[in-house]
Symmetry: C2
Subunit: 199 residues, 2 copies
Amino acid sequence: MQKPTLDFWFDFASTYSYVAAMRIAQLAGQASVSVRWRPFLLGPIFHAQGMDNSPFNLFPVKGRYMWRDMERLCADIGATFRRPDPFPQNSLMAARVAMVGLQADWGEEFCRRLFRAEFADGHDIGKAETIAAVLIDLGFKPADIVAQAQTDANRALLRTQTDAAAGLHIFGAPTFSTADGEIFWGNDRLEQALAWTKK
Amino acid sequence: MQKPTLDFWFDFASTYSYVAAMRIAQLAGQASVSVRWRPFLLGPIFHAQGMDNSPFNLFPVKGRYMWRDMERLCADIGATFRRPDPFPQNSLMAARVAMVGLQADWGEEFCRRLFRAEFADGHDIGKAETIAAVLIDLGFKPADIVAQAQTDANRALLRTQTDAAAGLHIFGAPTFSTADGEIFWGNDRLEQALAWTKK
């Protein structure tokens, strides 16, 4: 029998997407749910809501809470957490490379490693060298992969994916979407989304 | 041994505060945690963030999600849910009456009944008749209680409580705060807040 599928929408710049990315493989495995990793860009989504920065920067009291909350959540799951500087980071190239990897078989591992580079190791994913280091660890020549990531076709694919997120009325990350059209927003809704998917 | 205490900050106009109010007594009982119900007003808190309306109205895509989310959450806990009209409702008098009741022994029951009047039965808590009906059900003469609610002392008490929420860097409702200074935002963090309180 085919497993039901849950779509995992995330932006590499998103703090709670990091936590979800660290948790989802194990929880989905336990639930016998397949996960489709779907990177997208929050920038255009926030822009459509009239925001030109992360809500955590626009609303400092919310940002203050988020940083403390991330410390607690990461401690709970045994993940290292270091506050990224700058925040948010430019996640465009990361998302383009992830699109390439997710069409092959190394996408999820790239995503997890890049999230850790950013949120555990303190690297800036907006810099080519951070992405290159992860690609080298995975056994690739960075220039080859980056060339694939920069093709018109791949750029268009990422734009289409971001448009698809907007079409699902996604407004933040992470968001989980189901085949029957439900969306669940936030790392803390991962369990609920998996339960819904199994229904 | 004295039970540890968790503060439950809520606004009667807040949808997720309704869900938390329906859940908290049972969960806190199971966790052997005392709950202090602390009504406050979100209006001044939102205003300080530059918002003059509910974020669910200011950001329609977020509002759209919230209404669907409320349907799902209430179905999960077996609570009726009806979308309030208008939204958000004026919760000033409700909060003042709750302050009176929480200094006596009928505050929590008043809060639960008023939340149900608003979110299950479709009454407008901004209208005196809605609050009066709940007070009558509890065996009071509404005019007596409303007079107590409208004293300068009681108005000041509610203002002080809203200031205290701001002082804890609370930016939304419901929020749970612990004796050691942690805050947990959102109905979906109730379990986490209770676990922290027991540590």
